[in-house]
Subunit: 394 residues, 2 copies
């Protein structure tokens, strides 16, 4: 099928595009490359050096013989978005193209507004482009498990049947997210659901957990196909950061008690889930939600597992809780719909961790310990960022 990957230059967007291309789909990628700009702003960098988007696409052509169409532009621009959808005329659009860091969204007013504006408006533009070009195009949207927050009841996949005062209805699962970034995804979910209702569109909202890992079948084919790997306090996901801290001989820094529990998955499962969603589209007018993760761990679980997998000495350090979140809480979330479609999870094993640690070891020279700092405190409306060298412009 024809699949357009928005955000195709990013950590997950790029390997997803390669995976779909390798499976024989006609793939196009769209990206503004702004993710690289965030690194320049923050003064950090991917642990793994990455080739430019146009170069990656060329290397993939050479390695695989497959063509990936490529547009560089900003989806906040409605004309650009409309043009790309019209030109490529996809069967499915996989939408990764959002600012995806919670701490980045919490830096200050400017970054909060940027995140919500960028994410909400580009998704509205994609929705309008689909409505006008062909409402049967399936929108596969990356959401996040963080939309739900940490309720004291079991989290369902998007909807919950509620019986209240003798009457019953199935309604959207209540959302209680933890950052302006997560809120932007909640806003998107409401907007998308509405568009399915009024325009008969079809959409799958993938509420994804925290992804770890970096190597996929396709990216390993050539050094210039590798995807980025972030370990800094702003963009690094927690397990990736712990792996780098261990290799650097730095303590694993756990915020607060570390009882914060989250759904998680291997990068290879992200790729599989996205393809499963594309291959099994919902019906006309249907908005469905899949909780896209395979296991749950607490932050402290992750730290202990990395410490155990690492060959050397590792210290675990509890640092100030910079986010406003519960350090210990109930967490149980349903995640059966992707399994029902045939997902075969890669569970987190000592071997997985060791191969991740070996990858980090290869790029050890590029580690910058300054990047480990948790520089953004949720309680401050305006944060000063030491890694960026100077206060951010207000």
């Amino acid at each position: 099928m024809r699949i357009l990957v928005l955000g195709g230059d990013g950590y997950l967007g790029w390997p997803t595009a390669l995976h779909l291309s390798n499976k024989g789909h006609e793939v196009g990628v769209v990206d503004s490359c702004v993710r690289r700009q965030y690194d320049l702003e923050m003064g950090v960098d991917s642990l793994v050096p990455i080739a430019q988007l146009q170069r990656r696409v060329q290397v993939w052509r050479e390695v695989s013989g497959r063509e990936v169409a490529c547009w560089v532009g900003d989806l906040v621009d409605p004309d650009f978005t409309h043009r790309v959808v019209r030109e490529f005329r996809p069967d499915a659009i996989v939408h990764f193209a959002e600012q995806r860091s919670a701490p980045y969204s919490m830096i200050d007013q400017k970054h909060a507004v940027y995140t919500q504006h960028n994410n909400v408006v580009n998704t509205l533009n994609v929705l309008y482009a689909i409505a006008e070009v062909d409402p049967s195009i399936h929108l596969v949207k990356l959401g996040t498990m963080g939309e739900y927050g940490t309720p004291n009841i079991e989290i369902e996949e998007g909807f919950i049947e509620i019986t209240h005062k003798g009457r019953t209805d199935t309604l959207p699962f209540p959302k209680n997210p933890h950052s302006f970034y997560h809120l932007s995804k909640v806003h998107d979910s409401h907007n998308i659901q509405f568009c399915c209702r009024i325009w008969g569109m079809r959409s799958t909202d993938l509420n994804q957990g925290v992804v770890y890992g970096q190597e996929t079948d396709e990216t390993l084919l050539h050094p210039e196909l590798l995807t980025r790997f972030d370990y800094d306090g702003v963009f690094g996901t927690v397990l990736n950061r712990f792996a780098v801290q261990a290799v650097a001989g730095h303590a694993l820094t756990v915020y607060g008690k570390g009882g914060q529990t989250r759904g998680t998955l291997d990068i290879r499962d992200t790729l599989a889930c996205v393809e499963l969603a594309c291959l099994n589209p919902p019906g006309e007018g249907e908005y469905r939600v899949f909780n896209q993760f395979t296991e749950t761990f607490s932050v402290l679980d992750f730290a202990n597992m990395v410490a155990e997998a690492f060959s050397g000495e590792v210290k675990i350090e509890h640092t100030e809780l910079v986010r406003v979140e519960k350090e210990e809480h109930y967490y149980n979330a349903v995640h059966t719909r992707l399994l029902d479609l045939g997902l075969k999870p890669h569970l987190l094993s000592k071997e997985t961790l060791q191969s991740m640690l070996a990858m980090v070891e290869r790029f050890k020279d590029r580690i910058d310990p300054k990047a480990f700092l948790a520089t953004v405190n949720w309680r401050h409306a305006s944060n000063y960022l030491p890694t960026s060298g100077s206060p951010l412009p207000q």
Copy 2:
């Protein structure tokens, strides 16, 4: 107390400012006057002629001897927002300053994005201004009953206790709104609730029903103090529109069967509710929701009541359902919290309707029947608006 009214030039913002001033509060108003620009764009006008904001403020000074501080500017500009909050240093901020028309938000991509950007970003700016100037400032935010949609269970005030698989939690009431405008209010509600949690702010979210009426104790003191009265297909609320249609000898146009049931209230009750919320602020970190309406009626109920109150002949006409909504549905919403604070509702009586009809009669010459048209169809991603004389720029 010191109360800053955002959107103080609007249908409700202006009479609210006068009411609060009359009650002895120190009042400031802020408005970009963009509401008047929408009229120019749509080619419609308020039935009642209204004075310019600066002139209104001057007349109020002459009539009452009271001073209302006044800023003209756009809250989407963070510097302006911050400056006003710092200069006036209110105890409470009453936030009406949003694009408030569902049909306007559904015209096309440009108007949907404008509505969500304007409403969400200006509210984020207000939140950041409060956080930075003084987190104890009470934000009284105008939301809408439309945030809930029409669930098949009783609607609670903002939160619902859910028991699910043997566990219980009180969570935000699930939202299922009917337009990009209503969605913008849902986005605001999520953002505000989050800010109360992280910054210890206090906020009251007034989920208001459909307001009718135009005369208040203060606006009747001078013709140049009158507030606007909209009856057009884009900005007119339903009862106001029916009153004008009756006086114009036009059929009352009911979309579909007219079983759409909504909470409603008299404009004088809006003023009273806002003051009650200001005088009874929530505690530090508390986000609370009041369902602000006094009665529920279906659209057809409204039409029948207007027909009965009007002295002449009135026809009721069922026209195409241009919105995507249920024509008949369960509707029952709790609304006790404002009554508990002492609200004495003005219920919708024949006398109220007759005084409204008499007011419309006085401005009969200004009625433009073209404005009655329901020009925006929810099912079209792009609507052509005959009243604006030409297709909107895309």
